[in-house]
């Protein structure tokens, strides 16, 4: 348990290095996708190398922006919004 905790702390201390390694892996994936011929082309985007990466990134940003916008516009309520339905008796 202790060792595991220390391993994790070691990784956190070297977060910057790990981030760079991850970014290199990600770049490698896109390059691989550009080079490898798709097994089949069913849809227009199947032939585009790195489509998954682009779609993932756009999805992520869209989900956050749209949801937060909906939240601020309509959905967010104060935490005690429903408190009147509880009776302490």
């Amino acid at each position: 348990m202790k060792a595991l905790s220390e391993l994790l702390q070691f990784m956190v201390r070297h977060g910057r290095t790990l981030t760079w390694i991850m970014l290199v892996i990600m770049a490698g994936l896109v390059i691989a996708d550009l080079l490898i011929e798709p097994a089949y082309i069913r849809y227009p985007w199947d032939g585009i190398g790195g489509f998954g990466a682009l779609y993932g990134f756009i999805s992520c940003v869209l989900i956050i922006v749209v949801s937060k916008a909906l939240g601020y516009a309509f959905l967010y309520k104060p935490e005690d919004y429903y408190d009147d339905e509880i009776r302490d008796d």
Partner: protein, 560 residues
């Protein structure tokens, strides 16, 4: 030698002994009962058992086939895991409720007819609600009441549908519902309520986060997945489910962005994940139905693992909000790692269980030539990783130090999580084990270079987006209104508006009456009151004058 024992019977009878046991004896019994149940389930062979006639209806309490078995196996496994996770809990009511709830879910899955199904369906509601109430606070009680009421409505719809179905077809056997009309829709809506299909889903995100820590494991596993089973059985290829499922997958994601309570976030991701299954049912192709069934199987395992991880955090810290948590990885490293295995599984990382089942549904959408659905499901996949794999663990275990210094979770919790985590990885690494038990032969390979490349890019670049927007994705100390607003706040407002209307109308009519009455009284008193014209005393001279006028009139008109 008894030929057939219903596994539910073992669970129910076994649970009856729990109130009388304490300490080690109770803990041992809590392992023995689900253990025997799982052994029974593993030994089930396809066939029809326990058939009898009741009030002229032909009932089958045990229909065992490949589809039922997929669900029965995983229910059996999760009962064992859930029991281990709850070993330290002294409250026997929870344990009895959990076992009976599991028995009811198994009863639904093994039911060969709609009447048996209905009985277990209702039993599932009244047993599971105790897992919410036993949290023993006013919030849970209120949430449990709402849960009960929503499912009571669902139960009535189901019963009405079954009655009409029986009257139309003369049979109560439960297979694909092929008749049209009200029976089709009533039963479908009842199933959809339990599957938490929007807008009928709010009960789930409302009640699950308020359940007991150990009860939430059973809740997250059973109700929605029995509903998925009934949908696969009764409504394969129902087009509307494709769209509802895809919308559902995204709907859960949107609300997960807004969620601050960790178990509420996970609850919204149940809705999102069940969306894949519902969409798969709607497509109805062999690949899609296999995908739905296998995703239900893997989902139960990784979702319970996630709930167990979140539960362990709540149990050890007493906090459940992202805004109050943070930096726990140093103190609960095992919980963190085990949680992350669940997180990678639900996100469908290669080598984890979600990858071999979720991509099957997504692939089914692509193969069925449904580009919009395909993209919607892919987008929801990104959202899943964003929340369950990044947002929740980041703001709970990493991120800022909340100052909390909890101990690691108790051994029984860790063991339960460990078993679930092992199964998640095992299925991810060796999907053939899962594919072998699916209803139809599987002609699908998740591990093609194309799939792995696409999935890894999708997920890792979602991660990039997360870290770029890190400042904006944290929890906020707010709650978000969902469709339960209509019966929690909207209903109250409607009642208040109606009340105000009635009061105002009453007052208006009262006023009108009073005004009219007082005018009338004034009018009367003007005439008959003191000094009124008609109450004046007339002098006799006037009488003589009137008599003379009368006679004159008679003279002119009357005498001819």
């Amino acid at each position: 030698m008894i030929e057939w024992i219903h596994p539910s019977l073992v669970l129910i009878v076994g649970s009856l002994l729990l109130p009388f046991l304490n300490g080690r004896a109770r803990q041992a019994w809590m392992l023995i009962v689900p253990g025997i149940t799982l052994a029974l389930i593993l030994n089930l062979t396809p066939g029809e058992y326990g058939q009898f006639s009741f009030l002229g209806l032909d009932l089958t309490v045990g229909r065992v086939d490949q589809l039922a078995l997929v669900f029965a196996y995983v229910f059996g496994i999760i009962l064992v895991i859930g029991a281990i996770y709850a070993l330290h809990v002294g409250d026997w009511i929870q344990h009895v409720a959990g076992f009976c709830y599991g028995a009811s879910a198994l009863g639904v899955v093994l039911a060969g007819d709609l009447v048996t199904l209905y009985v277990f369906w209702e039993l599932m509601v009244i047993t599971s609600v105790w897992l919410i109430w036993r949290r023993k606070n006013p919030v849970s009680f209120a949430a449990g009441m709402r849960y009960l009421m929503v499912h009571a409505v669902g139960g009535v719809l189901l019963l009405a549908g079954v009655v009409i179905y029986y009257q139309t077809t003369g049979s109560v056997s439960f297979d694909q519902i092929e008749i049209g009309g009200p029976a089709f829709y009533l039963i479908l809506i009842a199933f959809m309520i339990n599957a938490a299909v929007p807008p009928l889903h709010a009960w789930l995100a409302d009640a699950y986060p308020e359940a007991t820590i150990t009860g939430a494991i059973f809740l997250s596993a059973l109700t929605t997945k029995t509903a998925v089973y009934t949908l696969i059985r009764g409504y394969p290829g129902t087009e509307i489910l494709v769209w509802l499922g895809a919308i559902m997958a995204l709907y859960g994601v949107v609300y997960a962005v807004l969620a601050n309570d960790i178990r509420r976030l996970l609850a919204y991701h149940i809705i999102s994940q069940v969306g894949y299954m519902v969409a798969g049912v709607g497509m109805g192709t062999i690949l899609a139905l296999n995908g739905a069934a296998s995703h239900a199987f893997t989902h139960i395992l990784y979702k319970s693992l996630l709930f167990m991880g979140a539960g362990a955090v709540i149990y050890m810290t007493g906090k459940s909000k992202l805004t109050e948590l943070g930096g726990l990885y140093k103190y609960m490293p095992l919980t963190f790692i085990l949680y992350m295995i669940g997180g990678f599984s639900i996100s469908a990382f290669p080598l984890f269980s979600g990858f071999v089942s979720k991509t099957m549904v997504v692939e089914a959408a692509a193969a069925d030539y449904r580009p919009v659905i395909f993209l919607m499901l892919l987008c929801a996949s990104a959202g899943t990783f964003l929340h369950t794999g990044l947002k929740l663990p980041w703001f709970t275990f990493m991120g800022k130090d909340s100052g909390l210094r909890p101990k690691e979770a108790p051994a029984n919790m860790l063991i339960a999580m460990g078993i679930a985590a092992f199964l998640c990885i095992f299925i991810g690494v060796y999907p053939a084990a899962l594919y072998a038990i699916l209803p139809d032969p599987v002609d699908y390979n998740a591990y093609t270079i194309g799939h792995v490349l696409k999935e890894l890019q999708l997920l890792l670049f979602t991660g990039l987006g997360f870290f770029i927007l890190l400042k904006h994705v944290g929890g906020e100390a707010k709650i978000s209104a969902d469709t339960d607003w209509f019966y929690r706040a909207g209903g109250k407002r409607l009642v208040a508006t109606l009340r105000n209307g009635v009061v105002a109308t009453n007052r208006g009519i009262g006023n009108l009456f009073q005004v009219t009455w007082s005018r009338y009284v004034a009018w009367i008193s003007q005439r008959y009151g003191k000094g009124g014209r008609l109450s004046r005393s007339w002098p006799t001279g006037t009488m003589a004058l009137w008599a003379a006028i009368l006679l004159a009139v008679l003279l002119v008109f009357g005498v001819r």
